[in-house]
Amino acid sequence: MQPRESAAQPVQRDHSWPLAIEAASGERVGLCFGCGICTGSCPLASAMDLLPSRLMKAVQLGLRERVLGATAPYLCVACETCAVRCPNGIDVARVMDAVRQASLTTGRPVPRVDIQRFHRWFLRTVWMFGRAHEGLLSAGYSLQQGRLLQDLSTGLALMRHGRLALWPHTVRRQREVRRLFRAIAQRGGR
């Protein structure tokens, strides 16, 4: 999971943290017995720095720093393969969600800031129009990532095929949608 810490540097464990993750995810993390079925099923496992079953164990052990620094929850696409197969009925994707959300709110450096930016751009367009705007999302994301030129050909190909609507589709009662975002912000979410 992690190069073993030396005796001089005891592993920091936070035994109340698993409870916080259970509360946030609504999943019973303590039920995991480490069978590895989630890992064996995960299409992103080979790209992850902390395999799903290892992450579950690390949460159980309260290895908060290790888990919050992992990129795995950012690569998880919530395909739910783990969730429908876990013999203990744990929706691992929801645990991934909770861990990622925790890592986003603790003020640490975000493990995969590029992926965070993509989703923020998506939500920004929803905030603006009530509906996602794929053109603005791709342009904004590419620009922020400094890869506008590389991504331009893809955008142009889509446009040539009539697949990128430029004009936004807006919700008429847009204030209702903004109110949903504001409710989250007031609660201290993101």
Partner: protein
């Protein structure tokens, strides 16, 4: 359709179907029209939050669909979905709202008056209950289709997807009823990489390639999807994947509704085939031949 449930259905197109998935919406409408199913659009609907809402906040992931559910309730309708991701989010949200007091309260406090009881149905389920064989005007004879479910339609923990998560058969039944030959293949419920196509293209490209290898191996003429993002990824990333893997031909990736509409007699010109990046001409040739 009204015969299916007690309530009429209101179509929730979702954002992608107004943009990259426009061919999906065109062919959904064409299919409904040719079946004589009068379905209104859900009024003033908003984005379901897709994979981005739950990325940052569990409540946002429920509140966004909740507003749509409330609109359906006010219309006295159930929701009809086509996009796999929208379907997934709406079903999850309905489940969370009806089982969690915290979520129900959060929705109320954010101005969403949803009391419950709206069903979210996917078009595949509706077509599966329709007498298709009697309506087919141009059977899809000679077309070997690899039905691709991807993740979100069949894997909805707790609420249940539209079919068995490990071995679904609903798309095969629907397209089989349209006269297509459906391939038995391994990649049906594998992941296409979703939004990693934008953020980690090497990773998504690899997943796309795995799916394509299996579809080629099964001798498919095309891949049929029910998700705008699956379609986009398999279409857009296919050229590079084919070069890496040395495929001799490219596989058209279509929406299952483009096939149902064709079989029901729609003109191909109304189904958005010009929007595909991988040419569909070989598929049309297989159909004609």
């Amino acid at each position: 359709m009204q015969a299916v449930g007690q309530k009429p259905l209101a179509l929730y197109p979702g954002c992608s179907l107004l943009s990259t998935g426009a061919a999906y919406l065109a062919s959904v409408r064409e299919t409904l029209h040719l079946l004589g199913l009068a379905v209104k659009d859900l009024t003033d609907w908003n984005c379901c939050g897709a994979s981005s809402a739950h990325f940052v906040d569990p409540e946002l992931a429920v509140l966004l669909p909740a507003r749509n559910l409330a609109i359906a309730e006010a219309m006295g309708a159930d929701v009809l979905t086509a996009c796999a991701a929208c379907h997934h989010r709406m079903v999850q949200a309905e489940h969370d709202l009806s089982t969690s007091d915290t979520m129900a309260r959060a929705a109320m406090e954010a101005g969403v008056a949803y009391r419950g009881g709206v069903r979210v149905r996917h078009l595949l389920s509706v077509l599966d209950e329709t007498d298709l064989p009697g309506r087919i005007r141009r059977p899809l004879k000679g077309l070997r289709v690899a039905c691709y479910y991807g993740c979100l339609l069949v894997r909805i923990p707790r609420s249940g997807g539209i079919d068995d998560p490990e071995n679904p058969g609903i798309m095969e039944r629907v397209l089989g009823a349209c006269g297509a030959e459906v391939a038995d293949w391994q990649g049906r419920t594998w992941c296409c990489g979703a939004s990693l196509a934008a953020t980690a293209p090497e990773v998504a490209g690899d997943l796309v390639q795995r799916v394509l290898v299996q579809a080629h191996r099964a001798g498919a003429d095309c891949i049929a999807t029910a998700c705008p993002l699956c379609q986009l990824n398999l279409d857009l990333l296919q050229g590079a994947a084919a070069t890496r893997a040395g495929f001799e031909r490219l596989l058209p990736v279509v929406f299952f509704t483009q096939l149902t509409a064709l079989a029901l007699g729609a003109s191909p010109r109304r189904l958005g085939f010009e929007q595909h990046l991988v040419e569909v001409r070989p598929m049309m040739a297989a159909l004609a031949g």
